[in-house]
Amino acid sequence: MRDRVVYQLSAPYREPYTLRALEFGSGGPTVAIVAGLHGNELNGVHALNLVASALRMARLNGTVTLIPVVNTFGLDQGTKRWPIDDNDINQAFPGDPQGSAVQRIAFALLEATQAEVCVDVHSGSPLVDEICQARVPLTGREVGLARAMGLPMVWRREGDRLEATGLVGAWRERGVAALHVVGGRGATLDLARSRQIADGLLRLLTEVGVLRFGMEPGKILVDATRRGVAYHYSSFGGFWVPEVAVGDRVAAGHLLGTINEVVGGSLVEEVRADRAGVVVTMRSYPVVHARELLVRVAEPT
């Protein structure tokens, strides 16, 4: 393993910002995996360190570049964005070597991840719990790679709103097979989900031929497009009390949770599943406003 400093930026009051990459093996095929673009999304950081442990003991046929945390300053302070100017590194791509700090980091990261297959690992927001999932375009090589990961959900979807300036979008602009992996919730470490993401990444490395592990295939619960995912929103503000959890199977009409008055607790609204499926997203922070996303239920495979 080579522990390489990809980029450094001097900083007042502390040691320089340092972007580190862990590199394993040599030659092709090449895979780059990134986590911690957002400083408060920790499951991916742990997952990549688990992958690094496995790769230290493996014989590789190709090259794997792991960057477990990009936004180290944000991670130190528990913030999603780059803390000094409150900018989102994941909105600074393709970056600029002469630009602001986040633009320079974005540029250096893109240069350091020139691989055939790239993965960017995130958690959900600190307010929302997400099933482990690989988000990919509707068609193309990424779909097969996502299925090979065997995470509980493969979500084939059109580009996100931020993709033009995000890392995954920047990779796709370069013609790279790029996967966007999401699992768990921000500002927490979920050991089981981190393990699940790590296993998925090892399966991906096996699929592209870098590893020759004989791993058990993962169990895909949902393989859906946007049409196969039902969004349930709050009609009113109040105190959200969930009745189900991420990964639960529910029937149509099943009670997903209730909104209650903050003072007194009287029932304001019952939220029920509009279709049978698997709970893939759950609002975990209980204080909600009207029309906020509470639960996503996806049709099972």
Partner: protein, 302 residues
């Protein structure tokens, strides 16, 4: 709201004789009270003189009240930048719906004016932003009592900003985020009133200033605005102020090492002109923007 109370986004409507409709929007970000103050000042004058109005003026003094309540830039909870939510979605969560409603509200306006303050890290001279090649907006901006009219090429996020949703939108800004600067507030207030006068909405007689006092702005494109960035990280100490005249190579500040205080970088003006923006927040990293210098001489006269 979850606790059962409500937050209102207020529209103040002033209707006069038949004429054009103008929409004035402020406070899209919660750390820009200067724009909110200007909106209130304009509304106050219209209230006194609504009989003299020709047309309709709709003023939205603060469209991100939850963020303004905290003095923060973004809509709380999901920390959403409202100025990246446009044109919005009726079925979305609160910031998406606010964006959608506002987009629909201004759709049939003859003219839209967005009032901003500056980013809290900077002090800015009063300025108008218009889209590059939008000559109608640029011509109108000449009357906005600003130092500079900057015709800007759109960035990658332009399509999701409020100003992009309506053609010819004028964006007026100046001062410092989360601060009120009396001179900037007066300049922008008089600028909005003068624009209303040029549009035929307000008669000369009720303007609380003489037209001859209106600043004649520099008209510039991106090529005449130079960004000055830090090479070293440390504490930036400016030695010049906003709208100071500078020659290329003049010292405009220095960066000192943050713990020992030793000077580590001298910051110089990259071109001759005026300081359009100066950094107020001293902590900088390599690449942090320190100042903007606008070239005052045209190519012909330089």
């Amino acid at each position: 709201m979850p606790t059962g109370d409500a937050v209102h986004i207020v529209r103040r409507r002033f209707v006069g004789a038949p004429g054009p409709r103008v929409a004035i929007v402020a406070g899209i970000r919660g750390d820009t009270p200067e724009g909110v103050r200007v909106a209130h000042k304009v509304a106050s004058l219209l209230e006194q003189h609504h009989d003299a109005l020709r047309g309709t003026v709709d003023i939205y003094p603060c469209v991100n009240p939850l963020a303004a309540h905290r003095g923060e830039r973004y809509w709380p909870f999901f920390s959403q930048d409202l100025n990246r939510c446009f044109p919005g979605r009726l079925e979305g969560h609160a910031p998406d719906r606010v964006a959608y409603t506002l987009t629909e509200e201004v759709r049939d306006a003859a003219q839209v004016i967005e009032l901003r303050g500056a980013n809290p890290a900077f002090s800015e001279a009063p300025q108008a932003h218009v889209r590059a090649r939008d000559t109608q907006a640029a011509d109108l901006a000449r009357h906005a009592n600003v130092n500079v009219v900057w015709a800007r090429q759109p960035g990658p996020a332009a399509g999701s900003t409020f100003a992009w949703q309506h053609p010819n939108t004028l964006v007026l800004e100046g001062g410092t985020g989360n601060r009120l600067q009396p001179k900037v507030g007066v300049a922008l207030t008089e600028g909005v009133l003068n624009v209303l006068n040029v549009l035929g909405v307000l008669p000369d007689a009720i303007l609380p200033f003489h037209w001859a006092t209106i600043t004649r702005p520099l008209m510039v494109g991106d090529d005449r605005v130079h960004r000055v960035r830090a090479v070293a990280g440390g504490l930036f100490l400016p030695s010049r102020g906003v709208w100071d005249e500078v020659e290329a190579g003049d010292v405009i500040g220095e960066i000192i090492e943050a713990t020992a205080g030793e000077p580590i970088e001298t910051i110089r003006a990259p071109a001759s002109g005026r300081i359009l923006a100066m950094r107020e927040q001293p902590v900088v990293l390599p690449g942090s923007m320190l100042a903007r210098v606008v070239v005052t001489a045209t190519q012909e006269s330089a």
